[in-house]
Symmetry: C2
Subunit: 246 residues, 2 copies
């Protein structure tokens, strides 16, 4: 409307120039936002173009393979982000480190919501052996991080299996949590999952010498006012019924 | 070669007359046998016809929807069989009942092998929202049976979630077990999974009054020479390191 002026034109945001990498990230972020709200089969490339405020041909230029390629790229990007969640310095009580990693993981779950559910629940039209492989890679990365913190790069089969079982159980709990309107609170869920980790490892320690060694070392590093201490004190009245078993 | 005799003809097994239901069961059994050995995408209707010693048109007559229909019918049949595994009388210590159900479940896993893995690992070409729904139904049936044995038809969210987490962890352990040439033995795996059940419920009991009530009642029914007693005695030396936490 003011086209006769001499002032430099202010670029409109929708047409701002982005590098290839920036544009790709922008499209992936828009896609992840949509996948967080609805099932992958209900997200079209048109929707992504609208959400990112770009033209449909531009989306196709970046993802010539269509929705499947976009979905896999978005998944890849989410997987990378998720793997970052597991990085944690090797200091402090083990339950505290696990709690920090779970905080980041559960925030990711909270943020990606429907996309996280669709991915893990299976049966989606966009699920392929490639998407399954990406998810498995994230699980493996999580297991490796935990074993590193446990100080066992060469874990016994039982220790390794226990860690993988707990990771699967955490996924199940996350899906149920999303399904039940995110109750209990994220903090309560985190504390509970840490308790489960301690309980599973303790049970495995009863049958596996390596796990027993790991647990003894880990328990020494725990503080009385930390999660392991609280768990121990809360469990005592329950297991006092089991005195006849000893 | 002896066609001129007057003795009644002995029917050849491949052409014996079966009722529709018997024939259908025979084809499903043949299909399940093949799915146990290789991935669903590597099983053709020809293979099923060969394995069942019938003609290909006959397989198509029973499953006009082709492989997808056959796979879903085989899955349905396996799911029914699996749900039978969970039926257990409500008497005796809880860990014993759980052990019996796990014995049957793990025998099923042992027997169906590759088919079980393919089904649960996802990303298969025959996986659809319908197959996912069948698997979820089995999980729900397992959870209901367990809650019935715990005497809690109206479980608290935490109790229900814990049971579902354990079921998921059992599935994960089963897949790892198949992947690791079925080691440890089925009996050792069963005992270990029972231990994990006791440990998870005990951890949840620390934060959930209903679960605490269930656990107290269950522990009273356990025998000193049973799984819970053995677990308690084996755990003691490990948690003795945690005295500073109390």
């Amino acid at each position: 409307m003011n086209g006769s002026g001499t002032a430099p034109a202010v670029p409109r945001p929708a047409y701002r120039r982005l590098s290839v990498e920036q544009r790709r990230s922008q499209l992936l972020a828009a896609a992840l936002g949509l996948f967080a709200q609805r099932a992958p089969e209900d997200v079209s490339l048109d929707d992504v173009a609208t959400a990112a405020e770009v033209s449909r041909p531009l989306v196709y230029r970046y993802f010539p393979g269509g929705k499947q390629q976009l979905y896999e790229a978005a998944l890849r990007s989410a997987a990378d982000e998720l793997e970052q969640c597991f990085a944690e310095p090797e200091s402090g009580p083990l339950t505290q480190r696990l709690g920090h990693a779970l905080d980041r993981y559960l925030s990711f779950v909270d943020q990606h919501d429907a996309g996280f559910s669709a991915l893990l629940q299976g049966g989606s039209v966009v699920e392929t052996s490639r998407t399954t492989a990406i998810v498995d890679e994230v699980r493996r990365a999580a297991a490796q991080q935990i074993l590193r913190h446990l100080g066992e790069p060469e874990p016994s089969p039982r220790l390794r299996t226990t860690v993988r079982m707990w990771i699967t159980a955490v996924e199940a709990a996350s899906l149920i949590w999303l399904d039940e309107d995110k109750r209990p609170t994220l903090d309560e869920l985190r504390d509970w999952l840490v308790d489960h980790f301690v309980a599973l490892l303790t049970a495995t320690a009863a049958r596996d010498p390596q796990t027993a060694r790991v647990m003894r070392a880990a328990l020494k590093g725990e503080a009385p006012d930390g999660p392991a201490g609280e768990l121990a004190r809360r469990i005592l009245p329950v297991v006092s019924e089991a005195a006849h078993l000893l």
